[in-house]
Amino acid sequence: MVPLLVGLALAVIAQLFLAPQLNAYDAGLVLNVGINIILAVSLTIVNGFTGQFSIGHAGFLAVGGYVAGAITYYTSIAIWGNAETHGGLLSSQSLNADTPVWYLARGDVLFAVAVLSGGIVAAGVGYLVGLPSLRLRGDYLAIVTLGFGEIVRVLIQQTSPTAKPQILRLADHPLDGQLVYRWTERTPEGLKTIYTAVDDTSPLRLVTRLGGSLGFADTPDYTSFFWVTLAVVITLVVAFRVKYSTFGRAFLSIREDEIASEAMGVDTTKYKVRAFVLAAFFAGVAGGLYAHFKSMNPNEIGFARSFDFVIMVVLGGLGSISGATIAAIIVTLLPEWLRFLEDYRMIIWSLALILMMIFRPSGLLGVREVWDLWLKPAGKKPAGPGSGGAVGRSDPPAQSPAAASGGTP
């Protein structure tokens, strides 16, 4: 309860005092950093805690993003007749004279419900993807998750353009003057145009109207410093509390030695699926935040995106929440700071990653958390609850299958 209140306070402060200080570009970067922290920390639960190797995390982001985006977009149109933001002060991306006086408005409720729904649907999908992990491990699971991510991307690409409402101007049509969607239907006599009133349109008609390869761009921009800060705090608090509890040890023991874990009474299949579900939920929430900040686009949710998150997790140190957080910040900001290098940017960036993996194969922090570094004297191996100590440089790089294959990107 206390961290939630602290998180709320932080979120309000970030929204009211930090956001107005930044220009649109910097503010966008900060929001992106926050969203990536959620994604990196959630992937840590699967790849870092349980040692499973999932490389389809962008698939969960996409599921959450499209579900949440579709809910706010089409519900906004049904309620308010347009897909503008109808939120209050805390959900405004830029604060200016037009900013509403209310802190939270009806649009914020819709947004929060949509983002949570996105998370829940993603968690459900995570359950389905987690099931094959009952039988597969290592690279084989990686291939399944990769396939999952691509399936999601291709399915979304096949959807139709978003439905746009319009006022009907047809004098002899019963819906004349009303807000309608326009549909083209194939009939035996050929193509036929029909109209349905926005209020009467069945959700089934809208479910496949997600923008296809053009992207889903018209979602209202609710994602603000307030919501992102709140989501980051909740994600971090849940991740830490899970890690430092008997459930976290159950996750970690699977990574350490699955056979021993099972022999010590841990239902390893159940915990692997749980890890997937929990990670997918937060990835879905992050997707919801992303959808209401930038546009969702199938080209940006492919496996290259998934690998960004894998890089964050491996760079931070498998299993380290603070490591993943720091890595998410670096991986989001460094390519931006390297922009002055122009064409050489991606070469330098790749080189930095390769050098990192050569000199610190276990990531920035290994399995430790940031405070393990100065709470324990350097000579003595730290072993905080659940985390254990350093996987130092002297250790072979192939600590776990995940670490070994994670070094490749």
Binding site: T246, R249, L252, D257, M264, V266, A383, P385
Partner: protein
């Protein structure tokens, strides 16, 4: 075979219902290789029994069958009267049988204490919600686990190692930690796979005493695989001998030492 079979049915053996662990007709093949055939065992509560045999005789396979790592092709395994045949390992551990491994399988990056606390997980009373919201039940449960595990570490003289990463422990202590971890699951039957492997003579004597003490303290029934005849003959009350996946002898140590088949199996007669 027939002699061994007759022996196992003599009245020195407990009946299925009374035995701490009762195994009948268990078999396992890998392709054409019959790894274990017609394996039977009956452990009276509170006894220490040995499972011996030359390398490749199927001892560890038998352990893996008992603990659910492999599913038996045939046969029946009863733990304190309850049928546990074909259950998954975590269910068998929950039912009251814990094991150690021939090649140490500790959770290397976790502290010694966390290794033990993980083994308490199966009897945890907190829910995931308790943990995430840090409700009182979480704190009480974690405290209870910590206390119990610290007592266990103390009992196995590992207290000074509680917060060390288990990979940093010396070999002998890792072996003891594995036994401690198995005990943390609160077993009725403890299976030890070569507990004395790699130990020097003094350590072996200490190990023997430790196993005797643990049996008394925790009211355990112990089954151990061991190559060291000194340990086996001094510690075990009954011994089962495997060769090529079959039981070739079963009985008290004195009898086993004189058994012609056992001598043949070991010396290749």
């Amino acid at each position: 075979m027939s002699i061994a079979a007759a022996r196992s049915e003599s009245n020195t053996q407990p009946l299925a219902a009374d035995a701490a662990l009762h195994v009948r007709g268990v078999a396992k093949s890998f392709g054409g290789l019959k790894a274990v055939q017609d394996f039977r065992l009956s452990l009276a509560p509170g006894t220490i029994c040995g499972l011996i045999g030359p390398n490749g005789a199927g001892k560890t396979t038998a352990f893996n069958l008992l603990t659910g790592v492999y599913k038996p092709d045939a046969g029946e395994i009863r733990l304190a009267g309850r049928d546990i045949t074909g259950l998954r390992p975590h269910k068998i551990t929950r039912a009251g049988m814990a094991r150690t491994f021939q090649n140490i399988r500790l959770f290397h990056n976790l502290s010694a204490l966390d290794n033990l606390k993980l083994a308490c997980h199966l009897r945890t009373r907190q829910t995931a919600l308790d943990a995430v919201l840090r409700l009182p039940r979480h704190a009480a449960d974690e405290q209870e686990m910590t206390d119990r595990c610290l007592r266990l570490l103390d009992l196995l003289s590992l207290s000074h190692r509680a917060h060390d990463q288990s990979r940093s422990l010396p070999y002998g202590e890792q072996r003891r930690l594995e036994i401690a971890r198995a005990l943390a699951t609160q077993p009725k039957v403890l299976l030890l796979d070569e507990p004395a492997a790699g130990m020097n003579p003094q350590e072996k004597v200490a190990l023997r005493e430790m196993i005797m003490n643990l049996r008394r303290t925790f009211d355990l029934t112990v089954l151990l695989i061991e190559h060291d005849m000194g340990v086996v003959m001094n510690l075990c009350e009954r011994i089962t001998v495997l060769n090529f996946g079959q039981i070739i002898a079963e009985g008290p140590p004195a009898e086993i030492q004189r058994d012609a088949k056992v001598i043949e199996a070991y010396l290749g007669g």
